[in-house]
Amino acid sequence: MCYLLAAAGDLAQTQILIRESGCSVAVQAAKHRRVSSAARVTLNDGRGGAWGDRTFQAVTFTFAAIILLLIVTIFVVLFVDARVALAKEGLRFVTGQVWNPTEGVFGALPYIYGTIFTSLIGLVIATPIAVGAALFIVEYAPAWLRAPVSFVVELLAVIPSVIYGFWGIAVLAPFLRDRLERPLKAALGDVPGLNQLVQGPARGRDMLVAGVILAIMILPTIMSVAREVISTVPGTQREGMLALGATKWEMIRGAVLPYARAGIVGAAILGLGRAIGETMAVTMLIGNSSTKISWSLLTPGYTMASAIANQFADANNSLHFSAIIGVAVILLFVTGAVNLVARLIVSRFGGDTRATGI
């Protein structure tokens, strides 16, 4: 879109200029009102400018204000509904281990524990792979390969959660149950200490499987941000190490990673934030049972999000419903806090927080 600033001239001359240049013409309105009136109308409507501007600003301001209205509404609705249960249980809501709606006892610790356990499993599995892939893209891949590989891995972020859950049920869970959980049980079953990790039958619906699917889901998030952070490492650092005879890996370990470390941590925390809030895939794979807090990877459990999904429609009395909303409030706070920390770290250390999928 180009502008041709025509200084003066009569109508005929200006019109020739317009045609030849192919640009929309803007003319100094004040001085040359009589010239090329057609072009002037399309662009140069000085009339009613102030009024139009004010209205426009007011309208867009309203839309921006709607965002504030939305967040306030969300918080108010959730808090008001959660008030009763939170008031009744107090701190026990987050420390209590028993969630028994029939008796009116609501301790959400098992749900919080399940959320943390599965998210950590996901984080531990995804971070090395994501950082590795990011390093590959930035440091090793030839220029023509960078965009396609990035694109492909980031496509993982576009797949809906429910499809991950279904693929998990149909493919991943049976595979992990038979190829990983059973051998793991056989191997660790008699090892004192480690056998705590494999208590219970291999069901394919447990923390481990949920953790693995989370790992796949947060992989693109971490990779995308890590890639940004790693690519901001100055070339001088890299070249310096290489000039001293370091191998590629030593260069990465010595120059790139220390520089990018904080940003990578931020990327991982961002991934954690996404894992914590994940609902559908986890609900479909975590087993939704057993409020025993156990170290076993093979325990079926709940996360906060899966508890809400399962019990929302079932909550029989207002106290139970209030408790479920209370869990939603905690979930909101935890995701908000984790995301906030992640963004602070990442933006301070040179990354772009706008990872795909967010």
């Binding site: 028994n100 709606p101 029939t102 049920i169 049976p174 149950r177 219970g200 039958p201 069901r203 394919g204 619906r205 087993g287 939704n288 049972s289 057993s290 409020t291 025993k292 079926p300 399962n310 019990q311 429609a313 079932d314 909550a315 029989n316 009395n317």
Partner: protein, 338 residues
């Protein structure tokens, strides 16, 4: 006989709730749409969600095999204005379905062992307690994967009511209810969900309505009834159980059929209801609703047995007719008659 469309009735109804009768209802509403052009949309969200939905009036009718308690009825009066009616639709069996790859014989179980399995006191398939009831069957040395309901469920309510009656340990422990504190196992969503989990996990065991077990070729155990007989679940043994209880059914028809007397009775039997508010406010909807209910309790019953549900005993049908006739819209009787 309701055998065609009716002018003045709504062309759609929305219901939600129990998955126990879902195989039957799904067939019913498929047929009903062909007969009357009324599209009845029923979603299996579980009895608990169904009861909540009818309390909040977010649906036109609800399905439940867990009767509403007095407190729940009281709470529902806020929006409905009157006591929610329980209109029975069918009887069915809750079977203990299992997935044992190399066992072809039908297992026999009794209430005590079933309770112990679900309390995780009997942990392996070749446990002496199970072996004692099944001499001659080679049971694998594998851990049992129990499957229960993660949602608030009428099936759970009836199943645990049965266990409460036959197992003192269960009555002291998890007790009965639409949701209980399960000691362990996988939680699945809805009867179909439990059937799914049992089907996909070797060495799993779970409680589901008979139709789901049959349609998915799941093996299910013969259960020892009150008279000491091991009975196979079927429309016939459910009918026997129903007949044992029908004479003593209370006026509002909120009752349970578990552990029925009678040599032929299957012990884990349940009745399921459609819950409606008798004080309707929308004329077209009320007409459609009452006609659908009449059809379900009369013409619809012909579909029950083929799907392994039992037809309602005639005495119960008569009472249901009374309920349907009592539904009013804006002060007038809603049902336009046969």
């Amino acid at each position: 006989m309701i055998n065609g469309p009716f002018s003045g009735e709504a062309n759609g109804l929305n219901g939600a709730g129990a998955t126990f009768p879902q195989v039957l209802y799904s067939k019913w509403f498929d047929e009903y749409a062909k007969v009357t052009n009324v599209k009845v949309n029923y979603q299996g969200t579980g009895s608990g969600a169904g009861k909540n939905a009818i309390r909040d009036q977010t649906v036109d009718f609800a399905g439940s095999d867990s009767p509403m308690s007095d407190a729940e009825l009281e709470a529902a009066k806020a929006k409905c204005g009157e006591t929610i009616q329980h209109i029975p639709t069918t009887l069915g069996a809750i079977v203990v379905a299992y997935n044992l790859p190399n066992v072809s014989q039908k297992l026999k179980l009794d209430g005590d062992v079933i309770a112990k399995i679900f309390m995780e006191q009997v942990k392996k398939w070749n446990d002496p307690a199970i072996a004692a009831l099944n001499p001659g069957v080679t049971l694998p040395n594998e851990e049992i994967i129990t499957v229960h309901r993660s949602d608030s469920s009428g099936t759970t309510d009836n199943f645990t009511s049965y266990l409460n009656l036959v197992s003192p340990a269960w009555a002291a422990g998890p007790k009965s209810g639409s949701t209980v504190q399960w000691p362990g196992g996988i939680g699945a969503n809805g009867n179909p969900g439990v059937a799914s989990e049992v089907k996909n996990n070797p060495y799993a065991i779970g409680y589901v309505e008979l139709a789901f077990a049959k349609q998915n070729s799941l093996a299910y155990a013969d259960v020892k009834n009150k008279e000491g007989q091991f009975v196979t679940a079927s429309a016939a043994s459910v009918t026997a159980a129903g007949q044992a209880f029908a004479p003593t059914a209370p006026a509002d028809l909120r009752f349970k059929l578990v552990n029925a007397p009678g040599a032929q009775s299957y012990p884990i039997t349940a009745i399921t209801w459609i819950l409606v508010c008798p004080k309707q406010t929308d004329q077209a909807k009320a007409v459609a609703l009452t006609r659908m209910l009449w059809w379900a309790t009369h013409s619809g019953q012909q579909f029950n047995e083929a799907l392994d549900y039992a037809p309602l005993p005639p005495a119960i049908v008569v009472r249901a007719e009374g309920f349907i006739n009592a539904i009013t819209v804006n002060g007038q009787k809603a049902f336009p008659g046969k």
